[in-house]
Amino acid sequence: MSIKLTVNGRSQTVDVAGDTPLLWVLRDVLDLKGTKYGCGVAYCGACTVHLNGKAVRSCQTAVSAAANAQITTVEGLSATGTHPVQQAWIEIDVPQCGYCQAGQMMSAAALLAKNSKPSDADIDAAMNGNACRCGTYLRIRQAVHRAAAIAANKTPANSASVKGEPVAAR
């Protein structure tokens, strides 16, 4: 079935069964490999993307349900890797294997879009669905605080918005 999707600001039409998880349309049809598969049952959060700015698990989101939404993946956080979350993740050297981190960053970006100065408890709650097998959690928490600070210090003229507004495709 023909489905029109808007991914990272770009309109694409795919021909897939409507109940195909959005995760697999992104990865295997659109070749956007940044969003990861870890469990398929919404336990690990590696598949987290934004639907209209809200963090969702794409392994449990049917592609048909995403048809009329703005879909943002990690590739769409910024065109040049300069989203405050991306900058903070590099500055604090968060990743070990890195496999969970796209999902972590998407959850963090969604949190910061709603809450520009989250507390530790806010972070715990927002990031609870993102597992890290390597155990980089302490750095993840530091990086969310750091991303908030980076975003707060940017002037509107040169900022990459924490809202992760759709940008031109990768």
Partner: protein
Amino acid sequence: MENKKQGVNRRSFLLRASALAGGGMLVGLYVDPKKAMAQGRGGPPPPPFAPNAYVKIAPDGTVTLMAKNPEVGQGIKTMLPMLIAEELDVDWKDVKIEQTDFNDRVYTGQIAGGSTATPTNWLPMRQVGAGARAMLIAAAADTWKVPTSGLTTASGKVWDKSANKSIGYGELAAKAATMPVPDPKTLVLKDAKGYKIIGVSQGQRANPDIVTGKPIFGIDMMVPGMLYACYEKCGVFGGTVATHNIDELKTMPGIKGVYVVERPADLKPDINTVVLPGDPGLESGIAIVADTWWQAQTARKKLKVTWNEPPVRVAMNSASFAQQAEELSKKEPMRTLRKDGDPDAAITGAAKVVEGNYSYPFISHAPLEPQNCTAHFKDGKIEMWSNSQIPGNGRNLAAAACGVTPADVTLHMVRGGGGFGRRLTNDYCAEAAYISKLHGTPIKLLWSREDDMHHDYYRPGGYQYLKAGLDASGKIVGWRNHFVTYGDDDGQRLNTVSAGAMGPTEFPQPFIANYALHASAIHLGIRTGSLRAPSSNAFGFVIQSFIDELAHAAGKDPVEFRREILAATPKQPGYNAARMRGVLDLVAEKSGWGKKTYPKGTAQGVGFHFSHQGYFAEVAEVTVSAQNKVKVNKVWVAADVGMQIINPSAADNMVQGAVIDGMSELMYQEITVDTGRVQQNNYPQHQLVRLAQCPKDIEIHYLKSDNPPTGLGEPSLPPVLPAIANAIFTATGKRVRSLPFMKSGFSYA
């Protein structure tokens, strides 16, 4: 000052250099053919003097360093080039890094395992950098017609300070490649005081790719003409297809091929043994090939297959294992692995006797990226992309499955989303190559999370029946352990399952005059293997919890009791009591052990363990509620891994990760067996600690000692389980001897 305990046979490491097309230079290590053959089993002997590549310097001065080991999150792809760059005297920001292919004619030790990369490569990688630098200096000396003694290097240039001139490595490279190659023994390596790169925190080079979602993992590999595959196997190891309906799947959307696979009867190793082989390769199953993985998985849901299941394995289950262990513990042990003095007499005559029956389950590795491999079989050759932790074996198993030789295989090494020892076994490599041969296209084989959890090589479970005696002064006078593990006693020896053995000198044997280690084995029909700190990940919990029981029985402070054990003269070399005493004292100091007053329900606990050449002591502070909800408030780690932490940021990240990993193993993780098959399916049945449950702080202190650097990814894990368990005991009076703790009613707050 170089430490001669490194154990590197210097005669086998010689430098070689050659010119790069276009005027650059290529520097590497010549590897003794015998050593190369030992490393790459089954590979052809290398041609004499085969140059290999670690350093490429282009005429424009671009320096590219080759990273040879598998990168699975341990930071090795950044660390090995740091060692080269330091001695080469280039600025880290100017260095490019490339991953090598697997190539055992050219590189040795392309393995991610055993925490061995640091000790194995500490000297050779620095020698490569220093050797290249020496040749560049020689080239400059020749150009300027001056002696080399007056020349220095910095930031990718050779300098003649007295004449105030410099020349860049790029300009020198072509000539440098023709200079005599120095004997590594003659190279003067930098003093640590002069380090600009080693010992300075460097971010992981892959970070920019990771944060922008670049396709760098095995699961991300794309090859023109590639199709996707899934592979259904019997839940009982060694089962073969009896009946199936694969023709019904062939017409489903996107499906390009469905195949019944039977493992060839003559494929080595034999899988019909009582003790299963460690890495058997291709198993029987049904392969589904499709345009997308989801279409393959969708068709798979319609698959109706029955299996011929080996009856002996079908009869196995966890309840039976526990019952057999109980029965074995009451009988004479099958074997005595070690007996020093007369422990039974010492215990009988002791003032106080303490007994503890400990047990721990099978657990699963479950790295976040499920097993996968991309392979293309064409014209008798295989090209494959794998994140195996031991790619030589992946190559060999793929070749054997396809009936070709290892020389017919090209293996590109790609990033792994975690290893933890799972990717030391290579079934997915054999499967992907075989399916590609069947179908005739490149194939991306991806296991589902359920496949990954059902077809793991589990950390073996075990039972340890401990008994020790204390004299009137509270000193241990005798220690006896009946270790019930999995394996088979064939009448000659006790053959344990992979990763199921305990060594005869495992702590505290070196320090206890009357010591016995006995063993018995239960037959097992599921696969086992190494999982981060094999054996130690369970033994640390058992031994340090029991030592804590003895400390409390003796009425002594747990740290002081441990100091007393370490004060005994060891019976044989190998376990360095002074190094363990050093980290024990350091962690006691940093955690304020014995100096803090806690409210009821809050306490500290301690544990230490020596493994993978590293000495680690850890203290945990916990608060336990009346409902047995445990909050780990803080963990302190003291580590002695030698004279140098190479990349402090990566080291801290890994140690913190090991503490969190240990927390998950302690509380949540258990794999059970029924009708010969694993019952857990996915992470909800084998949980991971979450961000909210982590301690706010994990404080790490490295005690530098005059020993060559050793690894820390594994030795950092074992002490955290007993540290938390012992803290829980002190806080609540509850001694739990069985993992995971959730089965005793505990949880993390």
